[in-house]
């Protein structure tokens, strides 16, 4: 479990994240949702130690994260940021191999190689493993990054807007993969999402942020209702039940 305690981040005097308390449960997909500038990405970056918190603390499996060695931390928690645009020419295989960096520092043993192969197999990247990242489509590239994270073999996988710049088909593909990571491999996934319907259909729990504070936190079915959404987004959003999915019809509200 990841426990976030009284976490705050200030830019100048303005609090971007203010006294946030959240528990992230093991073996679940937790989505962070909320309007632009609510502090979702900042919160995720603090949990993953990419930026330092000003106050408060984060515990991963009861260990304080800023007391952990960076190498140990990178074996437990991995993060993919939205700005993973690549101008470095690496092949898929080379990128995925770097997922083993925390373990091997670049000198891969047979166990590493096995895990790398497995990760690429799992993401269906075996045929194109020698292609360069900068020549792939957005969906393929995102899959390669996820394969790298799988090779990194952390219990917790954090993703900052993984669906950015992806079309519908690839967005669905990525979300299904994340679902499988949780259901088949027992990973814990935390995602920052913009599309509330992806959050509704695929996540187990939802944390809603607004103006740097948590306004809702609970199982998906408790959050996806018109009252809660009104509080989060200041919009009247009707919910329609379709094929066991709750769809928020926000387009004309």
């Amino acid at each position: 479990m990841i426990q976030v305690r009284e976490l705050s981040k200030f830019y100048g005097k303005k609090a971007v994240v203010e006294k946030v308390n959240v528990n992230i449960h093991r073996g679940k997909i937790t989505s962070f949702i909320g309007p632009n500038g609510a502090g979702k990405s900042t919160l995720l970056s603090m949990v993953s130690r990419l930026i330092d918190a000003d106050t408060g603390e984060v515990l991963v499996d009861d260990h304080l994260v800023n007391k952990m060695k960076s190498n140990e931390f990178s074996k437990r928690v991995s993060i993919l940021k939205q700005s993973n645009f690549m101008n470095v020419r690496l092949t898929i295989r080379e990128l995925v191999s770097f997922g083993r960096f925390p373990y091997s520092r670049g000198r891969l043993n047979s166990e590493d190689l096995r895990i790398i192969e497995q990760a690429m197999e799992y993401m269906g990247l075996m045929e194109m493993q020698h292609e360069y990242m900068d020549e792939l489509s957005g969906g393929q590239r995102q899959r390669a990054f996820i394969a790298m994270v799988i090779a990194q073999d952390t219990d917790y996988i954090l993703l900052d807007e993984p669906l950015n710049n992806l079309d519908m088909k690839h967005s669905v593909q990525i979300m299904k993969i994340l679902r499988r990571l949780v259901d088949d491999l027992g990973k814990t996934v935390v995602i920052v999402l913009h599309d509330i319907n992806f959050a509704s259909v695929y996540s187990d729990r939802i944390v809603a942020l607004k103006d740097g504070r948590v306004v809702k936190d609970g199982p998906t079915n408790e959050i996806i209702n018109s009252d809660a959404l009104k509080e989060i987004y200041d919009m009247d959003i009707p919910i329609k039940q379709m094929n066991n999915c709750r769809i928020c019809v926000y387009f004309n509200s």
């Binding site: 960076s70 990178s74 690496l90 670049g106």
Partner: protein, 316 residues
């Protein structure tokens, strides 16, 4: 571009280079250890070859590290102000110590090279608009500012002629006892190879590096120290060699990507080969006179650089 072929080309060219020059030396002359030919060979030809190989490999590697760490294909010691900072350092050392020894010059110049490069990286951090062409332009401007400061103080203290010697790369002055500083390139190459994986990870950005548990800032600093070391030694012994650190890593990257462990040997070899070709041409074209290496590399290198620019546009 196989390593094997590069190695063969390097050996052939090296052999050729040893026997090109004003006084004709044939391989058979070397059998007589006491002859004048053997002496010229050992005092001038061999040091020249070694200097070219070390400078070529060293500058290419320096460029490779800079491009990786700045995440920009057009950044190199030439386009990031490193060369100009080094020259400013040499000037300062000449003004501080009237008869500066090589080591004194080396230390001051190194400090300036490192400071200049760090400053450029700081500027790079602040720039929001990270266009591939815009960044090296900023670097060139930065370099020109440093260069004008150097010129100003060189004028005031009447060392302008002295300074221009560092401006022109030239291998004809290389002799035994004047190039040994360049051997620093060898440990730099080895360290770069040992750190190759870390540099590759660092090249994917700070967030990416931290996710993999890499001490990003430390790796960047180590890389910049290596770059400053190589640049300083090359300028002090040979002079400025423009474009080398820019074009060689780019050519290798097109064929072999950016995984440093894989591309490092190619980059070092190709850099040495390219410099060797330029040097041989410079010696042969207006025989028995010589065209300086910085002019040769400048002409051929800028042509290749333009080609790379247009090629990039075609892909973008």
């Amino acid at each position: 571009m196989k390593k094997r072929y590069l190695l063969i080309a390097l050996l052939l060219l090296s052999f050729f280079s040893l026997f090109v020059g004003v006084s004709s030396i044939k391989p058979m002359d070397l059998l007589d250890f006491k002859s004048e030919e053997t002496e010229i060979f050992l005092i001038s030809r061999v040091p020249r070859l070694v200097a070219i190989l070390l400078a070529g490999a060293g500058m290419s590697i320096a460029g490779l590290i800079m491009q990786q760490l700045s995440r920009n294909k057009f950044v190199s010691p030439t386009t990031a102000g490193t060369l100009d900072a080094t020259r400013l350092g040499i000037l300062v050392s000449m003004l501080l110590f009237t008869n500066a020894s090589t080591i004194e010059k080396m230390i001051v110049a190194f400090a300036f090279a490192l400071a200049g490069t760090l400053l450029f990286m700081q500027i790079l951090d602040r720039i929001k608009f990270k266009d591939a062409i815009f960044i090296p332009l900023v670097g060139l401007m930065f370099g020109n500012i440093l260069s004008s400061i150097t010129t100003f103080f060189a004028y005031k203290s009447n060392v302008i002629q002295n300074m221009s010697a560092w401006l022109q790369g030239d291998f004809s002055m290389i002799m035994k006892g004047r190039y040994e500083l360049l051997y620093i390139s060898i440990p730099v190459l080895i360290i770069t190879y040992l750190y190759a994986n870390r540099f590759t990870v660092a090249g994917m950005g700070e967030d990416f590096s931290r996710n993999l548990g890499l001490a990003y800032k430390r790796i960047v600093n180590i890389g910049l120290i290596l770059v400053a070391l190589v640049t300083t030694t090359v300028i002090l012994t040979v002079g400025m060699i423009p474009f080398l650190g820019l074009i060689i890593p780019n050519i290798v990257s097109i064929f072999h990507g950016d995984h440093l462990k894989k591309t490092l040997p190619h980059t070092a070899l190709l850099g040495a080969i390219f410099l060797l070709i330029c040097d041989i041409l410079g010696r042969v074209l207006i025989y028995p006179y010589e065209i300086s290496i910085s002019l040769m590399v400048g002409v051929i290198g800028s042509g290749i650089f333009l080609y790379l620019l247009f090629r990039r546009k075609a892909y973008a």
